[in-house]
């Protein structure tokens, strides 16, 4: 009997494999081939417009001789930490608020998703106008309220620009985090809170002992994905500051763009891209280790 079942399973497995074979082939062409091509390209350098084999030279140069790489990596880390950190705090607050809303629930949730619906390039242009030092809405509002005496050049002050960029990034990311956390919050059984209340637990104790542990899988996935998105965000930086002032907001992703499409060094840019993929994988490992999704 067991033998017959195993044979049937094998048959099903083969049939399943045959069914997904076309998809696998397509995937191979449109995903795997470009990846392999980039890896191969990363091992070449341009000489008189022709790419010649250089082995690991680009990687060696990037990791051991290119001081810009490390500077831009640091900027990318700052961007990820402050951008995702801010988005997470606000996203958690909004999702908990929405979880408690009983009237006009649908409207409230739709409105809170607005920033997510705006294409990144449009959002960046919109923020560019909002943050303009002379005609921008933000300075106008702050000056009208008496918060500021002088307009601030939000995108030009060395100590402020990176922080401003991270907050614009947070604005675009909050809805994403909020949606995942809200879904997580709705899976927490109401009874747990009721039991805690009977035991005399206050709001903070309930939050620490029930909400956070039960929400951990959602926190892990939302923060991990947001961090990877932040690491590869291009539109906001490119549109708002172009990496300036100086190189204070130059990130790895803009470095890749400039190296490939402004400097025309495709081999070096490909090597930078491959390194970025490894960093993204390291981020995933880090989050899985740091924020284990506890068993509910």
């Amino acid at each position: 009997m067991e033998h017959v079942i195993r044979q049937q399973t094998m048959k099903d497995s083969k049939f399943g494999f045959l069914l997904i074979l076309p998809s696998l082939l397509l995937l191979g062409i449109i995903v795997i081939f470009p990846i392999v091509y980039v890896v191969v390209l990363s091992m070449t350098i341009e000489v008189s417009g022709i790419n010649i084999w250089a082995g690991l030279k680009n990687y060696k140069n990037i990791l051991f001789e290119d001081s810009k790489f490390w500077g831009y990596l640091l900027n990318s880390i700052k961007y990820m930490v402050f951008g995702v950190g801010s988005a997470f705090i606000v996203g958690l607050f909004v999702s908990m608020s929405l979880n408690m809303v009983t009237h006009l629930k649908g409207l409230a949730r739709t409105v809170s998703l607005f920033a997510w619906a705006v294409p990144p390039v449009i959002a960046s242009l919109m923020w560019k106008w909002v943050l303009n030092d002379t005609n921008g809405a933000l300075n106008f509002i702050f000056m009208s309220l008496g918060v500021l005496k002088q307009p601030i050049a939000w995108l030009s002050l060395p100590n402020l620009t990176m922080f401003v960029l991270t907050q614009v990034h947070a604005w675009t990311t909050i809805p994403f985090i909020m949606v995942i956390l809200l879904a997580g919050l709705q899976t927490i059984p109401r009874e747990l809170y009721e039991v805690a209340e009977i035991d005399g637990a206050g709001s903070i104790q309930k939050f620490r002992a029930i909400t956070i542990p039960m929400l951990m899988p959602s926190i892990q996935s939302s923060v991990m994905l947001s961090t990877i998105f932040a690491f590869r965000t291009f539109d906001i930086v490119f549109t708002l500051t172009g990496g300036g002032p100086g190189e204070l907001t130059e990130m790895l992703v803009t470095y890749v763009y400039n190296t490939a499409f402004v400097f025309g060094r495709l081999g070096y840019a490909s090597a930078l891209s491959v390194i970025m993929v490894f960093i993204s994988m390291a981020i995933v490992v880090l989050f899985v280790k740091l924020l284990p999704a506890r068993d509910q």
């Binding site: 008189s48 005496k149 307009p151 995108l155 300036g244 100086g246 130059e250 400039n258 402004v262």
Partner: protein
Amino acid sequence: MKRLLLVLMVFATMGTAFAQSYQSVQWAPIVGRVNADTYQLPKGAKEAIAAEGTKKLVIYNWGDLSFDPATVASGKMYTELTGVEIEWVGTPDEQMMPKLQPLFMAKSAAVDIVPLDGTNFRTFVSRNWLMQVDFLWDEATLAAFQSGARNLLVEGHHYSVPQVARVTDIMYYRPSMLKAAGYSAPPATLDELAEMAKKMTIDKDKNGSIDQYGYAFRAGGVLDGAEIIKSIALLYGVNPDNVNGKVKYNDPKVVTAVDYLVKLKNEYKVVPQGVTSYQHGDVADYFISGNVAIVIDPTYLYARAADSPIKDDFAVALAPRAYKGGPTTVIQNWNGWGISSFSKNKAAAAVYLDMYRSFQAQKREFILENNEVLLKKVYDDPQAKQIGYAAVLSQITDTVIEIYPNQGEVYKTVIAEFQNALIGKKTAQAAMDDAQAQINKIMGY
């Protein structure tokens, strides 16, 4: 075996026919056709196009076609003359290289004609992605264009024809603001500009916030930032992209130019503090918004200002000289067309290039879009003389078009260091010395 040989011979014959289709066109006499009031196709053009079987050309364009009525009109003229349709692919500037580069790397025939500028031209040529078009040029034809056209030759060969060549620096000012500050004429020198800008930077309601700035410049984008330095340096008599054949951004006169701009922002405080994030278009927007007295910007601002709320209160003049009697050299931003080496429609594409640098198409660019062109005859046309800033153009003694390998990387370096000077992180001298150290590496000096 015999059959195989026969098939091979047929293919070889077909290949030769395709390869030589554009060569069968009788391009000469070129200059007469280029300068004619009405463009005529070269002899044999239609036959060559028919021989290669072209029905449609795919042409990439900088930005959406709705901004380029002259390009659209010239495209229609081409279709009427040849019967070949054009499929335009309007592409945002920053996406042009990411889109074209993979097509070229794949040796794709999906694009026939590509738009060129200083950021992509030399890269495309060095990788053999552009077809050589020496057959479209001779000495008499080259002489019909402004001298900048000669700088587009690469090792003695042509790979493009000019589309437009925008003059980057003319001065726009607000007569009412000058008058309120006690001036009857715009500044004639850079010192005068600084002095006037000081007087015209005003906190009108005395609330501690500047309501009107005297001047504004762009120091945000890669091209913008390097060009603003270069444009001032040219007025001091040096071209940083070509100091005795070398790129030299720490030349004393270039440092003086950078120092001048830094002082305007940090010492005199007559420009908005956000200039390091101002890219092309931002200064124009700011001028049109009505809160700045003087800007120096490309000629495309003229048409925008003439159709804006300040249309009755703006005027144009030659950019101030560095000193009395100094040079009035300005940069021209060149845009051109090139043919993909992998195009299967080379004859039709070559005819398009031939048509686009003609008097008829070039005049259209100037009249319809206020884009300057390199073809000299356009400026003799009575309609061209009616353009609002024609008198300013006639005062410009010389123009510069400089295109060289690794220019994008050089400019990126220059803008980063220029911004370091503008935010007070480095002195003008230190910033330009640091830029030069990197340039030396990039250029292999």
